[in-house]
Symmetry: C3
Subunit: 244 residues, 3 copies
């Protein structure tokens, strides 16, 4: 399975052109749109989101991951193996949390060369073909990375910020709920939020946080929109409040 | 064929994660995005939309249908057979019109249990696997329903409200055009609208109603947007005016 | 491969219903969403966009193309062969640039008749079945066109206007970069823009133009939005400035 994780949006030709390459090169591999609205031009927020969602997918999944504000510039183009899943995309920190949390991981510079490489669309011309090769069980030409320039050791293990706002206005943070004390409250925009198990535990209009279906601490308002009601967007800071 | 009918939006990971389950469990079954923007958190409006669109699909189609504001609460999780098509989702009235209009229908509580059930994403953890089983021709574990708590006898046969606004600003009502007198006019927002056969029957800027391609009475403005020009949104009341 | 080029938007049932027809009639043919947000109701702008993007696809691709403000009216319903690719849709000029740039092209009126033709959704009822037949290698019933009423000889070879604004706010023009002098500047909204090779060639906030990954001259702002920063939208005029 190939899962797409990009900031392309679903409109426009970008996702479609990548899929055309995938179908040409790996016609029998299903392609899944995971995120087309990953944090735009923001590999750091995207890295926490990708790590949380990738863990849910079966072993062998190839994540074609393009959040790449530096396309055409000096950032490396890489592929990564981490605990039996593959990742292809820019070496700008996007895979930092995936690699940090993996028991076993390696990364390669892409040495495979397309016939034609546009300056602005490496997703189509470089990353999609490499993802297709990996999904077919082949190993694209690559050089094992050693300099660690794709890593970001300075980023925290859990990011106390909003990293994504979904269709319902719910605000996902970059923190795994399991990493927080059971009685932790979250403080955002001057409001202190309790933890609940599910939306229907609180009256309509109440703000709270809960462990979302992929393990992230997520802020929501029952029958409301947390983004609008609390003024949240990607990058909004979150504070953790514990009893002790 | 599995058709997706949800209020998830196309962005974000929700539809993609459901599709990943479907491809894993039923790899040979095509999956169609029918609506990802069904009326949000509004099973009543959604029920009229689903009934109109489902009737167009081939027998055997499985509708994975998630408009589920009560996820994680007390509403039942069900699957329904109606005139040779299958429906899986919450028992909150979403299938009321499908069942009411069917010559033959039965419904079951889902007894099949996933290995892990998140509190907030039954679409992925419960409804998608059940839809995949049905699409493979298997019968998931279930208990025939008897209490009728998934039904909504008090809802009208035709809903005189806007139930959906499309990309062009056209406003679909919950009424089938065939259920209206041939000379019926519709009154919305103080405007009385004639019936036309097609958009090009009226000058640019004119508001009218017509039978849309799935049989619903739909309000439109030629080369305009009915939602903006007439101030319509989901729930806007529609009055029927007949000559006699 | 069937590529979809429409102004339907991705939301709502329209694309899904077309895909259901394609899967029923040509189950083994991959279907790619190329543009669902082609210039709305604007076959002229769409024609320049389609010609630029279609050229990238493999021979044999069928473009199911629906930008059709006159649906249900007098415009012809056609299919076109141009240099080994197929196009199906309304004969309203949408294929003018594809045909003009082709070494070899022919067009047919669709004579194939569906069992039921709705007045407002020829994409589903007429164009999708014809596209499926072509993708299966069959020739649908058709009459070779002779009157040229689907052509638009008065449209320029390169359209000096914005024809599309993408998810990032970049504004594509209807001009091929290869048709412009190497040192050409573009003037839009009172601003004179230099040509660059790639985004990272200029400081954040700078506006410029470049050859996009499909050969069109495209206006962008590094780490900004050209549409907002320069006030551009579909139809905005572009002036070409050359040194001498």
């Amino acid at each position: 399975m190939i899962a797409l994780f990009t900031d392309f949006g679903l409109h426009g030709p970008y996702t479609g052109q990548m899929k055309a390459v995938l179908y040409e090169m790996a016609p029998d591999v299903p392609v899944i749109d995971l995120f087309a609205d990953a944090p735009s031009g923001n590999p750091k927020s995207a890295a926490y989101l990708l790590a949380a969602y990738a863990a849910w997918f079966p072993l062998g999944t190839v994540f074609l991951s393009v959040v790449d504000p530096g396309v055409g510039g000096a950032r490396p183009a890489i592929f990564v193996e981490a605990d039996g899943r593959w990742y292809v995309g820019p070496g700008n920190g996007l895979f930092e949390l995936v690699q940090r949390r993996a028991r076993k991981t390696r990364s390669w510079d892409i040495a495979w060369k397309p016939q034609r490489l546009s300056a602005s669309f490496h997703g189509r011309d470089l990353f999609a073909p490499v993802a297709a090769l990996l999904a077919r069980g082949e190993r694209p030409a690559g050089r094992l990375r050693g300099d660690g320039s794709e890593r970001r050791a300075e980023w925290p293990d859990e990011l106390a910020e909003v990293v994504y706002v979904d269709h319902y206005g719910n605000a996902m943070t970059g923190m795994r709920a399991a990493a927080l004390p059971a009685d932790a409250k979250l403080v955002v925009a001057g409001r202190t939020l309790d933890r609940v198990r599910t939306f229907t535990d609180r009256p309509a209009g109440t703000a709270f946080w809960y462990e979302n279906s992929n393990g992230l601490a997520e802020i929501a308002v029952n029958q409301g929109r947390a983004d609008r009601d609390l003024g949240l967007s990607i990058g909004s800071a979150v504070e953790i409040l514990t009893a002790a």
